[in-house]
Amino acid sequence: MTSAEAVPPAPILELVALHKNFGPLKVLDGIDLAVRPRELVFVIGPSGSGKSTLLRCCNRLEEPDSGAVIVDGADIMRPGTDLNAVRQKIGMVFQSFNLYPHMTALGNVTLALRKVQGLARDAAEARGRAALAQVGLADKENSYPNALSGGQQQRVGIARALALGPKIVLFDEPTSALDPELVGSVLAVMRELKAAGMTMVVVSHELAFARAAADRVVFMEGGRIVEQGSPEAIFGNPREARTRAFVSRLSQGHG
């Protein structure tokens, strides 16, 4: 395991035959996906294709019906798994930010550091400040969410995930709720993260960002992975007709 240079590195996150039904609806219908270290996997697909559910199954915010979710070598579906410990390794960024409105930016970022990782206030705040600085909000640590713009709120959301020192960060449509002029600041932070070597899974409609930053694009429809490949392959020369139709619709929609 230590001579990782010789063989391809083990995936940080691996989904095996993942199934999830909402009543009669098959939201995830046998997903297999492996995310390797430092990789940015970009997930696209029509609404209702199961993208968000896929992300939410990775840290079991949503319970998969069957299949395996292997994080850093351990199947977290196994009974007796300490989920709260696993979730320290998986950061998550939400579409609607979900910042705690009764806490400052720093309070949002340090809560889990103090209450789950058990850091003393000083140590937690030092790490929280570093995380806020990383997203360019060092001067906003005492601001409450309602005093921040949407873009700033989402960057605090990213800092909250980063502060825990995760091995992978999941982004669930991180810019969909933002006014267009605020999207850039969030994407810039994500680009920096990628450059710094963070492993990321991103569900989004920002195709330009995918072209520039993604290592792999996954197209989902009807709870299955229809096609995956490099951004050039998926956007330039998709094999499947469904992928082509979706990609052309999406690029038109975004000018």
Binding site: L61, I90, F94, N98, A112
Partner: protein, 227 residues
């Protein structure tokens, strides 16, 4: 006309009688404040505990809590006080007037507070739970640090109104001879043969509760929820 006014002043604002009975009314005021504080502390603590417990959604516990809340919302507080004071001694559980009043009103306040806070917990968006759980906070920690603080804050106005309404009910303690303001004032009035002690009693209530009502109005604006 003049004569009527004189009579009114003599009856309700008799300085001599007021001076004579003021110490009794002050004693009653002290008891009223003591019971009120005890009721607020116990009632709110129990209400919060029940609301938190209900968040765990354990079937039989839920049913028990809902039944408790329904019964204490439907029963007049005076009936609860009288049951505890007059009926429990038959079980060899005699209660002092203080205990009966305090316990009854605490239970009533707890029932209302539980319902208000539970509504608040339900009103906290799901995303708050998910964000907290995604950072590894457990159910209890999420409830305690993330959800309850928001639920409590957004329910300040109805809660303040309810706290005022229930603590005013300490006057009902007079029915079981708790020596609070009403008891002291009405026995003083009949001993003095003059209603001035009643005026004093009314003034004592205003002295206690007007500040609370004003504080309540201030709290309502202070905690008006911004998102």
């Amino acid at each position: 006309m003049d004569n009527g006014l004189e009579r009114l002043v003599f009856a309700f604002f008799n300085a001599e009688i007021a001076a004579a009975w003021a110490p009794k009314i002050l004693e009653g005021m002290w008891v009223t404040i003591l019971v009120s504080l005890a009721v607020v502390a116990t009632g709110l603590a129990l209400g919060l505990a029940l609301a938190a417990l209900r968040a765990y959604r354990i079937g039989p516990v839920d049913v028990a809590i809902v039944a408790f809340v329904d019964i204490l919302r439907a029963l007049p507080p005076l009936v609860v006080i009288i049951i505890l004071f007059f009926a429990f001694p038959y079980l060899d559980l005699p209660m002092s007037a203080f205990t009966a009043t305090w316990l009854s009103l605490s239970l009533v306040l707890a029932a209302f507070a539980e319902e208000i806070w539970w509504a608040g917990i339900l009103a906290v968006p799901r995303g708050q739970w998910e964000a907290a759980r995604s950072t590894g906070l457990g159910f209890g920690a999420t409830l305690g640090y993330v959800v309850l603080p928001q639920a409590v804050r957004m329910t300040v106005p109805p809660l303040v109104n309810r706290v005022i309404a229930v603590t005013k009910g300490t006057a009902l303690g007079s029915v079981v001879a708790l020596s609070e303001i009403v008891s002291q004032a009405s026995s003083a009035a009949s001993l003095a043969g003059n209603p001035t002690p009643l005026t004093l009693g009314a003034a004592a209530y205003l002295a206690i509760f007007v500040p609370v009502v004003v504080l309540g109005r201030w709290l309502e604006t202070r905690f008006a929820w911004k998102r």
